[in-house]
Every structure is written in structure tokens, then in C-alpha cells.
């Protein structure tokens, strides 16, 4: 797809889509949505970019190293957050029991570990979407060439 109008519109909209995705991830415990939905939105902004501008430019925006790192580190981050509970002598993934500062309901940094766990899940979902899409897309282009 090399359409001029599509490219210009995407250039205006897609950065906001990406930022909105991170907004949904970060506000998962305050408003509607959550880390899964936010991760999908972040992944979608990259998928739309590589569909419109071509896979090469898309890959340049999201290097393989970053993608691999996010792919591997998302779940590990979840595990590390679970270890906070164990280090305080309470069960795995405990939140209130672990004595984490829960904050005021409605504030951005409320809910204790929920905020950090949600960040890990969001990165995880986004990297999964992007990885699957890039893999499928690349194979197609190689077969065509």
C-alpha cells in the first residue's frame, strides 16, 4: 500500500494511537480497559505502520533486539514482581499482604503491584502481536521475492 493520503493520515494518527495504548496500559487500574487491551493497541499502531509504510520501515522502528528483549522480559518481569511477596515472607504475587504501599484509590500510582504487573503484561501482549505479524509478513515478502 503506497497511497499518499493513507501515508499522511497514518503519520498524523499513529503516534497518538501508540501513546493512547500506553495510556490504557498505565490507567488499567483506574479506568476502563487494562493491560491486555492497551498492549493490543500499542501492537496495532506498529502493525498499521508496517502495513502502510512497508515491513522494512516497520522493522527499523522496532529493532529485533528490542523485540526479543520485550518478548523475553515481559513474563520474567511478572515473576520478579511476584518475588516481592516471597521476599517479604508472604505468598507468591501477594499485593496487600506484602505490605506494598497501596496509595489512594484513583491516583495513578495506586493499587500497589497492579500498576507494575500491568506494565509487564502490556509490553508482553504488544511484543507478541508485533512478533507474530512481522514473522508472517516477512515470510510473505521472501516468497514473493
Amino acid at each position: 500500500m503506497r497511497d499518499f493520503i493513507l501515508k499522511r493520515v497514518a503519520a498524523v494518527i499513529l503516534p497518538f494511537v501508540c501513546v493512547y495504548g500506553f495510556y490504557v496500559i498505565f490507567h488499567g487500574h483506574i479506568s476502563a480497559g487494562g493491560s491486555f487491551a492497551g498492549g493490543i493497541i500499542v501492537g496495532l499502531s506498529y502493525i498499521a505502520f508496517s502495513t502502510i509504510y512497508g515491513i522494512k520501515k516497520g522493522r527499523a522502528k522496532m529493532p529485533d533486539k528490542v523485540l526479543t528483549w520485550a518478548e523475553s522480559f515481559g513474563t520474567l518481569w511478572y515473576g520478579i514482581m511476584g518475588m516481592v511477596g516471597i521476599s517479604r515472607g508472604v505468598p507468591f504475587l501477594a499485593n496487600k499482604l506484602a505490605g506494598v504501599d497501596l496509595g489512594v484509590p484513583g491516583a495513578l500510582f495506586s493499587g500497589g503491584l497492579i500498576f507494575y504487573i500491568g506494565l509487564g503484561v502490556g509490553i508482553r501482549v504488544a511484543s507478541t502481536m508485533i512478533t507474530i505479524f512481522f514473522t508472517l509478513m516477512e515470510d510473505d515478502r521472501e516468497n514473493a521475492a
Partner: protein, 103 residues
Amino acid sequence: MIKKLLVLLIVLATAWVGLLAIAELPPYGMPDNPVHNQVSERYINDALEETRAMNMVTAIVLDYRAYDTMFETIVLFTAALAVVITLKTDKKELGDGEEEGGR
């Protein structure tokens, strides 16, 4: 023919047992259903106090059921892994294959 009739009979019998079980289910959406037990009550009454997260769904998914969500992310990891293993072609490997095909 006899075999087909027998199979039909077994299918109908199984369906009959299933329908009997469904007929025993409580009516949908009634307040005194066994689904509405102390678990949902606890979530509705205490979720805000216990997690301080305003979105109750997130509180359940990422706090009460955090262990479940952790393995959900591992399911995502496995899905990406399967796609990459099945479809990713190493550039070098591909070149070798083409050379061998040429010979």
C-alpha cells in the same frame, strides 16, 4: 445399518442425559443462584479496600487471580514461539537450500 442405528441410539441417549442435566440448572439471572456466593460478594464489597484499584476487573485479573494471568502471558509467549518456529526462515539457511536446489 444396525451399527448406524446403534450409534444413533447412543447419541440420543447421551443427548437425553445432557438435557436432563441442563433441566436441573437454576434459572438464569436469579439472585439466589449458587453462582452468587461469597466469592463475588467479597469482590464487590472488599475489592476497593483490599487493592485500592478503582477498576474491579483489573483488581481481580491482576491481584486476586494474578497467578492465572501470569500463565496467560506464558500462553501468549508460547503462541509467539510456535509462530516463529514454524514460519521464521533463517536467511542463511534459505540461501543454502536454494543453492542445493540449484545443483
